[in-house]
């Protein structure tokens, strides 16, 4: 079926983009920790990307649900829940006045998410190949 191949290609691309976003975040935080960028600059760079990332991940989750790909949905669900929680409590906001004490904590979160997107990426890749073969 044509559309399922398209769906998986879209998913692979999205996961790849999210992967890159995570790498970018981690690099920026490392720069901040070693005083290569100022906290204001760092927050200005990162803040506009955080919500789109959340949105993309939630879209992925919803798409998996409506296309009845339950395995992918279950992999996505915990992170989606975390994103919704963090949006509701506004804890996603990067506060330039309070970022230094939180660098390590944020970096840990980004590393976990990086691993998560990596798993997703390979899973989507596998699904894409499978659907290409079955085509």
């Amino acid at each position: 079926m044509e559309w399922s191949v398209l769906l998986w290609i879209l998913m692979v691309v999205m996961a790849a983009v999210l992967l890159f976003i995570m790498v970018f975040f981690i690099i920026e935080l490392s720069d901040l920790a070693s005083d290569f960028v100022s906290p204001v600059e760092c927050c200005r760079k990162l803040s506009p990307i955080i919500l789109p990332e959340y949105f993309a991940q939630l879209t992925m989750t919803v798409l998996m649900l409506i296309t009845l790909n339950f395995t992918a949905f279950i992999i996505n669900a915990p992170l989606a829940a975390y994103h919704v929680y963090s949006y509701q409590t506004k804890s996603y906001w990067l506060d330039p006045t309070d970022i230094f004490p939180k660098i390590d904590e944020k970096r840990r979160v980004f590393f976990i998410k990086l691993g998560f997107y990596l798993i997703l990426f390979f899973y989507y890749l596998y699904c894409m190949i499978m659907s290409l073969i079955s085509d």
Binding site: D35, S38, P39, V40, W93, D95, P96, T97, F100, P101
Partner: protein, 905 residues
Amino acid sequence: MENSESIVGGGVPLSVETAADPSRVRMGPPPTSAGRRLAVHPAPAARLLPVARLLLVARLLPVARLLPVARRALVVRPAPVVRPALVARPALVARLPPVARPGLQAPPGRATLRCGVGPGSSAAPQPPHAASASNGRASSSTGPPTGSANFRFGSEQHGGDGVPRPVNDEFILPPDDVAQHPSLGPMSSDPFHFRPTIHAVPATEALLNSTGLTFGAVLSPFAEKPDEEVPTVQQTRAGIVRCRRCRSYVHPFVQWLDHGRKWRCSVCHLVNDCPEAFRGRVDERGRRVDAAERTELSCGSVEYVAPKEYMMRAPQPPTYVFVIDVSATSAASSIPEVVASTLSNSLEDIYEDERALVAFITYDSKLHFYGLDSAFMQPRMMVVSEFADGVELPAPTPRMLVRASEARENIEHLLEGFPTMFEDNQDSGAALGPALQAAFSMVGHVGGKVLVVAAGRPSVGAGAVKARDERKAIGTAKESALLTPADNFYKLLAVDAAPLHVSFDLFMLAQRPSELSTVSSLSRHTGGKVFFYPNFSLSKDGQRVSADLSAMITRPTGWEAVMRIRCSRGLKITGFHGHYFARSSDLLALPNVDAASTFGVTIAIEDSALEGARSKFSYATMQAALLYTASNGERRIRVHTLALPIVAELPAVYQAADAPCMAALLLKMATLKAESSTIEDARSAMLNKMDDIVKSFKSLSKSAGGSGQLVLPASLRLLPYYTLAGLKNRALRVEGAGSVDGRSFALTRARTLPVHYLLHTIAPRLFRVQPGPVNPQLSKLPLTLSLTAASLGSDHVMLLDTMSALWLWVGRDTPGPVIRAVFGMDSLASVESTQLRLQPLDNDLSAHVFAMISLIRSQRDEYMPVYIVKQDGRYHASFCSFLVEDRSSSVMAYPEYLQALAKKK
């Protein structure tokens, strides 16, 4: 990258001369120093073995048993009460010599900072490389005795229960023998400026953790020590000598190598070449012979006049923008009047200063700007009411930001008209946010100080906040949410303003809940100050507002300041507490800095790095460099270098502990927790810390103390007292918490006050006025009494010093003659306590009371109003909330708490 203050202050990094020249040899008599510290010789009895000193403990018998005994002893026999601690170590407590404190004995005239190098001084420095490996042992066996001299038991004056309490100490400084290690001496920075919680560095993290103590420091870089000035370094051709790699400044604790041709930086351990003009002979112990002649090699705190390289632009002129609320609410309580009359008086100094700039903005639901240009005969008011898409300043002429000296007439004219201009203002909006944006765009290119006088919650335009319902939240876990800003507008404005050297000082004169926690983030992230006057009324607070406002204008201020703290290898700063903006992990932007600006610093120990450092240095150094512009336009660098011996043994760690400073830092840390988590969490963090310390000490000193005895090192005796007092303070208490604004303000105070201010705030000083000796020429304050209701007799007159106010408490059975002498009336029964005023009267007792009040006021730089409280009056309960040793509904009484601590396993 270039790691220096030049990130902000100057573009050109300093280069260190590398030419190797034959060292100039200085000959001459051994240097002496006039300003050196008096030697403190420990008494023979104090030279105990380390183990014995470890056992120097505050022993407490079960208090329930002790109290009646002590009372009886006092009543029956006039002989001194036998105290458990004295029984334990009679020789130590009895024979310790009085500790000399040169700084506090107020010699006539201004001496320079203690500079103690030279023979005869107790502060002769050890050759750094000679003392390396054995330092842990050395410091614990030849080190000073534990500071029991300063932690005197005040049993006679304190009711005889043998419970440790602070004595009447104005500055609550650590004992000299704890603060100044003999191998380092007064060349290390003074506790007034830079005060660690432990005056030694534990060699490993495990060692520190085994004691349960917190390692950090409290720093007041711009503090003014009474009768002492920070000495200025004489410029030489060598310029300012700094380490090539870490950019730290040369200080008394660097190592001189290669006959003085090279020096090893104690922060990063790089070996630097010494510029030729800075060379001097080095003696066989590795010391510079000419150290006493060079301020930067003999003093822990020095000041440099910065050369051009440290300036990115011309030094900023003192710049003041006044943003004043003139809405209906404000006008009804005569706020414009108070502000105008204060400014007319305190701008005097500013008119004298040719460089100073001034501007005025007032606001209700509109913004009013004032053209003060001296080209115009009269000040012109310009009203801006459209600011939905950001504020646009009115036309550039007439100018609004003017030189005060040139526009003096227009300014005076404006201030004269001020009270009447808004008398009948009906507009009750408050466009604070737009007014602040306007102020920022007015001075953003210069930098400066924005003084904001607000009469309540901002309600119009950007930054308007809705009142949050706080009734149900107070005292519960939900209160913390109300302590965090409702709107990030003020925080973001502060983040924009701080790098441009603009700071905001907030005066909140509120009659209703004012969202202080939201608005005060302005000051918090720009190094500003917050003043809060709840239930403002002219009669109650007018004088205080006036004094505070005028102090913020006239006190010495450092402009466009940045501070960097460099720690030697093995120490890492993990957090800051105070009002600042962190521009990088160790660089704080402090747009304005003054004597009261204080920062708490928490420090972690990194084992492997510290181990490596010990092979080269026997001590660790921390250097705080504050680059600022003085009001006269001089760019200056104030450098405080703190050197602490690295110690490997427990007794040495314990004896160097500084309980008051640690209590202050713990409280500062708790304020953060109160906001990010809950008040309850902050409270339990304080209690758990104390438990940990007690338990650790108990397990480390197994032999000492049985059941029912609290065993603590002498240096930590007062920590339980301050912990308890902290929990009963407005910042952290559960019952009677009042409003969220009040809590937010108390937390702000705890976060920003210097050590002795903070500790006197949480544990006020209580004096008895009557009955007692009457001395109209009183020159010394009497002893403080314990903060318990038992100190109040129904026929007493007491005076309580809470740092922000003085409370005169009058018992219900106070004899008529006393009332008549103090208040000039026969009885207070028919008078409301708010109606009472204290007037100087022509009699000895009245003079005595006024002498006490002025003595206390002279120790503070804040104005302290006098409140009169009658024992039966309505403020008696508020007065009692300061009696921190008594039981409250959520916290034990002090003796109970000590007992509970003693039972901890």
